[in-house]
């Protein structure tokens, strides 16, 4: 190719991007170049040797789709379990067209899938899909959340009653709350169990807590009462006020014993990581 006809670096890269990401594949894209950038760069690809030029380009095109499919499959195993491998591939294809990756970090690739699923036709058959995807995304974010050192709860033993009322608790920075109107965790629980079918789930409020322990991410189902109290504490409300407000909201189901049990569990699980004394 003469220098005068050679594509510039921006032209070449723009053309390669178009060709590699065309969902119809290299061959059909080149035969029917509806969206091809004005400058055709195919003559810039060396045709010498025994390998067909389309085969050479197809390596990149296939790798693009398969790599990103694999990343999303790892992040959203429950979504794939629900809709099946084939439909998941179609979904990913649609998603990549709507939300092409713009981040150098491949872990960002799936961040918009929950939003995308809200309007995707597949959600008509599975109305909880967007919520399930939100949960799986939050799980990933929890893996990447930092975890504070363990809390020495013996410092609580010397507190007076009035101090108890005024203390504020610091929750671990990996703690995330999740609310859905579907118990999506029941679907998520079977994501890796091939022989177990996806359970039918019914419309009902579900509160979940995600946090990291030293090994991995833990998921805990919260009652509404526990969710409200923990929510108040996570916002920095003093303990006395948080308990009073929770008791007002649920006068028939809150007791001192129940609250004590929750605290013991939260400390044992590493959900509480510090106290701010008055």
């Amino acid at each position: 190719m003469s220098d005068a006809l050679a594509p510039t670096l921006p032209e070449l890269q723009s053309w390669m991007r178009w060709l590699i990401t065309e969902p119809q594949g290299v061959q059909r894209a080149l035969e029917n170049p509806v969206h091809e950038p004005i400058l055709r760069c195919l003559p810039a690809i060396d045709r010498s040797g025994s390998i067909d030029v389309h085969d050479r380009l197809r390596v990149y095109s296939n790798a693009y789709f398969l790599r990103l499919l694999e990343v999303l499959r790892e992040e959203y195993p429950a979504i794939q379990k629900v809709i099946g491998v084939e439909s998941f591939g179609v979904l990913v294809c649609d998603y990549l067209k709507a939300y092409p990756s713009s981040s150098p970090n491949i872990a960002d690739l799936g961040k918009d899938l929950p939003e995308f699923l809200k309007t995707h036709s597949i959600s008509q058959s599975f109305p909880y899909l967007s919520d399930l995807a939100s949960f799986e995304r939050l799980f990933l974010m929890t893996v990447f959340a930092d975890r504070a050192p363990d809390f020495d709860s013996t410092q609580l033993q010397s507190l007076s009653e009035s101090e108890w009322s005024e203390i504020r608790f610091v929750l671990d920075s990996s703690v995330h709350f999740f609310h859905s109107t579907w118990p999506v965790d029941l679907v998520w629980d079977v994501r890796d169990i091939q022989e177990q079918p996806v359970p039918q789930i019914n419309f009902s409020d579900r509160n979940l807590l995600l946090f990291r322990d030293p090994q991995w991410v833990r998921v805990r189902v919260l009652s509404m009462e526990e969710r409200v109290l923990l929510g108040h504490l996570s916002e920095g409300m003093p303990l006395g006020q948080a308990c009073d407000q929770t008791q007002s909201a649920f006068p028939d189901s809150i007791s001192a014993e129940r609250i004590q049990t929750w605290f013991a569990t939260w400390i044992q699980l590493g959900i509480i990581k510090g106290v701010l004394l008055p």
């Binding site: 190719m1 220098d3 050679a6 594509p7 510039t8 670096l9 921006p10 070449l12 890269q13 723009s14 390669m16 991007r17 590699i20 990401t21 003559p43 810039a44 690809i45 060396d46 010498s48 040797g49 025994s50 390998i51 030029v53 085969d55 050479r56 380009l57 390596v59 990149y60 790798a63 693009y64 790599r67 990103l68 990343v71 092409p100 990756s101 713009s102 981040s103 150098p104 970090n105 491949i106 872990a107 960002d108 690739l109 961040k111 990933l140 974010m141 929890t142 893996v143 990447f144 959340a145 930092d146 975890r147 990996s174 990291r212 991995w216």
Partner: protein, 283 residues
């Protein structure tokens, strides 16, 4: 904590964190994929970074990235470089490495190592960017040759001439991926020895070894197999030519147990011993 490396290292992958921490296998150093420890959506490194820092207490760790996008005509991603520098500072890394390629354009990341045309235009573009990156990350940049499946008719020089000129103009280092040299030589029909001879010896800071797959008559750099015999043979020649360069075994897909990787490191070590024993005899 900055520790120099030697011998045959392994790519650190999350499936091996626990076995490494529990059993402290005899591996002289690990290489990480930098982006795996940066955290999504600009967040923190979380569990992966926590595990890495525990492992780093016992092993030297070097940083290798996949998203520098040095060959792209897009502007450098300063936020990414800031995160890269922060991680390098945290690990006390002496250098950062990535690939001599482009990975995206027009704001879209394709997450693949795409080939450059070896033109003066591309050389000037990348020369400028290497210097700017080194200024930002405050440490030398080391660039790896990628596996290629196509060549451009308007290239004005060979890949090794391109690398050689880039080294001359920027003083960047070279990460010589021996498997990639072999894969590209088969796909593009050149003599891999010409490649080795064309790279300035003093610039080679590290070597990589990995396995490829065959798809029809194309070799594909899949990193999911043991290193093949022709690549071992080329590695022996590379050691002979460049000297005792720290070498990494990479395995990124269908990742086996750590002991399978250690079989690969033992093979590399045996070749290393063979080459340098021969040298002593000659001296």
């Amino acid at each position: 904590m900055s520790r120099s490396i030697s011998g045959i290292g392994l790519g650190l992958r999350s499936v091996h964190y626990d076995v490494i921490l529990e059993h402290r296998p005899d591996v002289p150093w690990f290489e990480i994929i930098s982006e795996n420890y940066m955290g999504p959506q600009g967040g923190s490194g979380g569990r992966p970074l926590e595990k890495l820092e525990q492992i780093h207490q016992n092993y030297p760790v070097v940083m290798h990235g996949v998203s520098l996008n040095i060959g792209s005509v897009d502007a450098l991603n300063l936020e990414y470089l800031k995160q890269l520098k922060a991680l390098a500072d945290r690990l006390g890394a002496e250098t950062v490495s990535d690939h001599l390629c482009w990975t995206g354009v027009s704001g879209q990341n394709l997450h693949d190592l795409l080939p450059l045309p070896y033109t003066h235009e591309a050389l000037n573009h990348i020369t400028d960017r290497v210097q700017r990156i080194q200024d930002i990350v405050k440490r030398p940049l080391v660039l790896e040759n990628v596996s290629t499946y196509l060549a451009y008719t308007h290239s004005q020089m060979t890949e090794w001439e391109f690398i050689s000129r880039l080294v001359e103009q920027t003083h960047c280092g070279v990460l010589l991926d021996v498997n990639n040299v072999y894969v590209s030589s088969r796909n593009l029909n050149f003599d891999p020895i010409d490649f080795l001879k064309g790279i300035p010896s003093r610039a080679v800071k590290q070597m990589h070894l990995a396995g490829y797959s065959e798809s029809g008559n194309i070799l594909i750099d899949t990193h999911d197999h043991p290193v093949t015999d022709p690549v071992w043979a080329l590695y022996e020649k590379a050691l002979d030519h460049f000297g005792d360069i720290p070498t990494l075994i990479e395995w990124d897909d269908k990742i086996p147990e750590l002991n399978v990787l250690q079989i690969e490191t033992a093979k590399a070590e045996a070749i290393r011993k063979k080459v340098f024993k021969k040298e002593k005899v000659l001296v």
